[in-house]
Symmetry: C2
Subunit: 446 residues, 2 copies
C-alpha cells in the first residue's frame, strides 16, 4: 500500500496571484486573453502530474482596471479550450449559483465532462458582491444565508439532472430503430423554493457521474454547505492552528451528517515565494511588494471589509469599528481572517496590504524549496491539509519553480505521485464515481 | 474584381439531418457525444473552405429518446472544444435569448471569440416550446411577440456590453503601474423592460467587435428582428419562388430601416442527396425513408402544428381545422410551410412525413452533383440566396459527397472560393468589423 498522498491543484491567475505580477519585466501584459499563456500553464501543471487546475471567477469587472487586469475569459469557456491541449489533468471552473439557472449550468458542466473524458470540476460559489448583483438586475444582493439556501437547492436540482439519464439508457439498436430506453431517462419534476425544473437533462450522464464538486466558502453557512455537497474544499489560512481547526471542523460536520470524511479533500492555499536561499526568496518578495500600488490594495480591502476606502488610513491600525463588528454580508471568512491577522500582529493598514498583496489572505511562504516542502509536509501530516492549492505569485515562473524545486523533495519523501494512476479528475483525488439516484435495479430472478 | 461568391455554412447534426440517419450501417451510434466525430466534421468543412459550421439547439430533451438521439452537448461548449482542431472556419452556436441572461451570454460569446481568434457566431433564437419553458420554472411560454421583444432588448444590452471596452482601453504601462484607462471602459447602465445591467463587461472587446449575429426565425416578428440585427439568416424554403419572396422581403426591410441590404446574407437550407445518377440518388433517399419510424415523425409534426398526435391520421390529409387556422405560437413559419406544402401537393400525413423526414421542411434535392450545383447556381443568381446552409442527410458521408462532387463544379464556375482570404468569420462573409458605439474620438488639434 502506498502512503497517503498529497493532492495539488494549480490555481491559475493571468500573470500571477500577486497583485503587481503583471508589472514584472518578464510578464505577458496580455496574459489574461492569450490562449497560449493558459495552454503553457496547463501543460506545465499536467507534466508535473497536478490533480487539477483551477480558475476563480465572478461575473463583474473587478476594480476599475487602472491598476490590474479587471476581468478575464469566462472560465468554463477557457477550460474547454484547454481540453485539446491536455489529456489527464482535471479542469475546475468557478461558476455562481446565484446568477445561473440549474438546467443550463448542469448541462454545460456535463458537456465539459463529456468532451474532456471526465475531467470537469465545479467550484461552487454564491457571489458576494453588489457589483455582481448589478449586472443581473437585482437591486440588492440576496443575503448571505439566502444565497447558500439557493445554492443547496441548486445542487439538489443539478444532481438530479446529472442522474436523469441512467448509464444504460442509450440502447442504440439500429435494427429495431430503438435509440434509447425512455424508462431509463427520468424527468426530475423538481418543485422547490427557488426553482421549478421538469427535466430530464438533454445530455447523457457525464463520465464522472457528475463533475467534481468543489467549494471555497469558509463562513458557517459555507462550511455546512461544503460538508453536505463538496468533494474538495479550497480555503485560506494564515497559520497551521487555524487550518487544523478548519480541517477538523469540516471532517466533523461531514461525519455528523453521515458522510465519509475521507470523501472531502481539504486544500488550503499556499503562495510559494521560492529562492535558492532565504535571502533570495525575501528579495523576490520585496521586488513584488515594491511594485504594488497602495491605492489598489486599499480599494480591495475596503470592498472585503465593507467600509469606505477613505475610512482606512495607511499608517494607522484598522478602525475599532471594523475590528469590533460581528460580521459582513459578503466575504465573511476572508474579512474575519484579515481582522484577526491585523489584530494578532498589530499591523498598520499599509502592513496589512503588504501581507495581502501576494495572496489575498492565503498563506505566503517565502523560503528555500526545502523550507516550503517542510511546511507542506507539516501541514499535511498534522491534520491541516489533504493537499494544497498552489498559487504562483508570478506565472509561469512561480509554478515552474515549485515544480522544479519543491515537487522533487515531496516525491523523494513518497508524498506525491510520480504519474497519474487514473484518467478522471475524481480518480486523481481518490474519489469514486457516485451511484445514480434514479438507477432502476434489475429484478433478480429467484 | 471577383464575381459575387457563394457562402456555405455546414449545418451539423450528430449522425445527419435525416431523422433515421443514425440507423444507417455506417453511422456512429454515439456520434452525439463523441468529440472525435465533431472534430472530423469540422476539419472536413474547414479543408473545403466553408465559411462556418453551425449547431442548432434547445434547452430541453427533444422527444422521448426512443426513436432518435434526443439531446446533445451544449453547442457553445462543443464549438469551444473544436477551436484547437481548426484555425479558420467560423463556429456558430445556437443560444436562446429567452432562457439566458445578457451579461453571462455576452461574456461567453466574447470569450469564444477571443479564444478562437475572431471565429464566433451566434444563432439567436427565442425558444418556441413548452418543454423548454418547463426547465426554467415558467408556467407558460412567453408569447411569440414578447419573446422577440425580449430578444431585441437582449441584443441592445449585449451590443453595449461588447462595446464597453474600447479597443484602446488596455494601456499596459508596467513602469507607471497603469494597466488600463478607466475612461475607455464604459458602464452601460441599461434600464429596460426586461433587463437592468450595470456593466461594463469583464472581458475585453472581442476580435470581431462582436460575434457574427445569425437569426433563423421566419415569422413576421422574426423577419423584423433579423432585419434589425442579423448579419446572416438561416431559412427554410421548399420552392425558389418562396425563397425569392423571403429574400426580397428581408433586403427590403433592411433598406427601410437604413441598413445596407448587402450586410445581411440570406442562407436557405439545402439537403443534398447525391448520387452519380438520378436513380442512385433516389435509391439513397429511399433507403433513408425506409428507416423512418412513422410514430416519431407524427410526434414531431404534432408538436410543430400544436395539435394532439392522435388528431393526425397517417393516410388522410391534414385536418381542415389545422389548414384553416391562422397561426401558432411556436414555430410559426415552419408550421405555415408544412401546411402550404401539404395543401399544394395534396399530400397525406404519411407523405408529408416522408417529405419532412430528410430535412424538416428544408429543400431536399436528390440528384446528380451537376443537378445540385445547378439548383444552387439558379437560386444564387436569381435573388433567392447569398449562399446555403448545407445539411448532410447522413454525416459525415453527406458532407463528404457535397465537398467531393458538388463544390468542384461551383468552383469551376467561379462561384466559390479556392481558399480563405480572411481570418475571421465576419471576413469570410465579407462583412466589416463594426464601429464601437462608445468610442471616444480624440480631439484633433487645429
Ligand atoms: C481559493 C479560494 C478561491 C475562491 N474563489 C472564488 C471565486 O472564484 N469567486 C467567488 O465569488 N468567490 C471565491 N472564493 C470565495 C468564497 O468562495 C466565498 O464566495 C466567499 O468567501 C463568501 O463565502 P463565505 O462567506 O462562506 O466565506 C474563493 C475562496 C477561496 C479560499
Ligand atoms: C436552419 C434553421 C435552424 C434553426 N435552428 C433553431 C435552433 O437551433 N433552435 C431553435 O429554437 N430554433 C431554431 N430554428 C427556428 C427558428 O429560429 C425560430 O425559433 C422558430 O422558427 C420560431 O420563430 P418564428 O416563429 O419567427 O419562425 C431554426 C430555423 C432554421 C431555418
Amino acid at each position: 500500500m502506498t502512503a497517503r498522498q498529497l493532492h495539488f491543484n494549480a490555481f491559475l491567475m493571468e500573470a500571477g496571484h500577486h497583485e503587481a505580477a503583471w508589472r514584472l519585466p518578464e510578464s505577458n501584459v496580455d496574459a489574461d486573453f492569450d490562449l497560449q499563456h493558459w495552454v503553457r500553464l496547463a501543460k506545465l501543471a499536467e507534466d508535473a502530474k497536478f490533480d487539477s487546475l483551477f480558475l476563480a471567477d465572478g461575473p463583474a469587472l473587478q476594480g476599475s482596471g487602472e491598476f490590474r487586469p479587471p476581468g478575464q475569459l469566462e472560465p468554463l469557456t477557457l477550460l474547454t479550450a484547454l481540453v485539446a491541449a491536455t489529456s489527464r489533468i482535471g479542469l475546475i471552473a468557478t461558476v455562481s449559483t446565484t446568477y445561473n439557472s440549474p438546467y443550463n449550468l448542469a448541462r454545460r458542466l456535463a458537456s465539459v465532462d463529456h468532451v474532456s473524458g471526465g475531467r470537469a470540476g465545479w467550484n461552487i460559489v454564491t457571489s458576494a458582491t453588489q457589483r455582481e448583483a448589478d449586472n443581473f438586475g437585482l437591486d440588492f444582493t440576496l443575503g448571505h444565508g439566502a444565497r447558500y439556501e439557493r445554492a443547496a437547492e441548486f445542487l439538489d436540482v443539478a444532481l438530479k439532472l446529472w442522474d436523469s439519464w441512467e448509464d444504460e439508457a442509450r440502447v442504440g439498436d439500429k435494427a429495431a430503430g430503438r435509440f434509447a430506453d425512455p424508462e431509463r431517462i427520468h424527468p426530475i419534476r423538481h418543485r422547490g423554493q427557488y426553482f421549478r425544473v421538469e427535466g430530464a437533462l438533454n445530455v447523457r450522464r457525464p463520465p464522472q457521474g457528475y463533475p467534481l464538486l468543489v467549494q471555497a466558502g469558509s463562513s458557517d453557512d459555507g462550511k455546512q454547505f461544503a460538508a453536505a455537497y463538496a468533494e474538495a474544499i479550497f480555503t485560506a489560512h494564515q497559520t497551521i492552528e487555524r487550518a487544523q481547526d478548519f480541517y477538523a471542523d469540516i471532517k466533523d460536520r461531514a461525519r455528523r451528517i453521515g458522510r465519509d470524511p475521507g470523501g472531502i479533500k481539504v486544500l488550503p492555499g499556499i503562495v510559494p515565494v521560492i529562492g535558492s536561499t532565504e535571502a533570495e526568496a525575501q528579495q523576490l518578495a520585496q521586488q513584488l511588494d515594491d511594485l504594488r500600488v497602495p491605492e489598489y490594495g486599499l480599494l480591495q480591502l475596503s470592498t472585503i471589509l465593507e467600509v469606505p476606502a477613505d475610512s482606512l488610513a495607511l499608517d494607522e491600525s484598522l478602525p475599532r469599528s471594523v475590528v469590533n463588528r460581528p460580521t459582513v454580508e459578503g466575504f465573511q471568512s476572508r474579512a474575519d481572517l484579515i481582522v484577526e491577522l491585523a489584530t494578532r500582529e498589530d499591523l498598520t493598514v499599509r502592513q496589512v496590504l503588504s501581507k495581502l498583496g501576494g495572496g489575498r489572505g492565503h498563506h505566503t511562504v517565502a523560503g528555500t524549496p526545502e523550507q516550503i516542502a517542510d511546511t507542506i509536509t507539516t501541514w499535511f501530516e498534522n491534520g491541516a491539509a489533504d493537499g494544497f492549492n498552489v498559487m504562483g505569485p508570478a506565472l509561469p515562473s512561480g509554478l515552474e519553480a515549485f515544480i522544479e524545486h519543491v515537487l522533487p523533495i515531496l516525491r523523494s519523501r513518497g508524498l506525491f505521485r510520480e504519474d497519474y494512476t487514473g484518467t478522471t479528475l475524481r480518480e486523481h483525488y481518490g474519489l469514486e464515481k457516485p451511484a445514480n439516484q434514479f438507477h432502476v435495479r434489475e429484478l433478480t430472478r429467484v
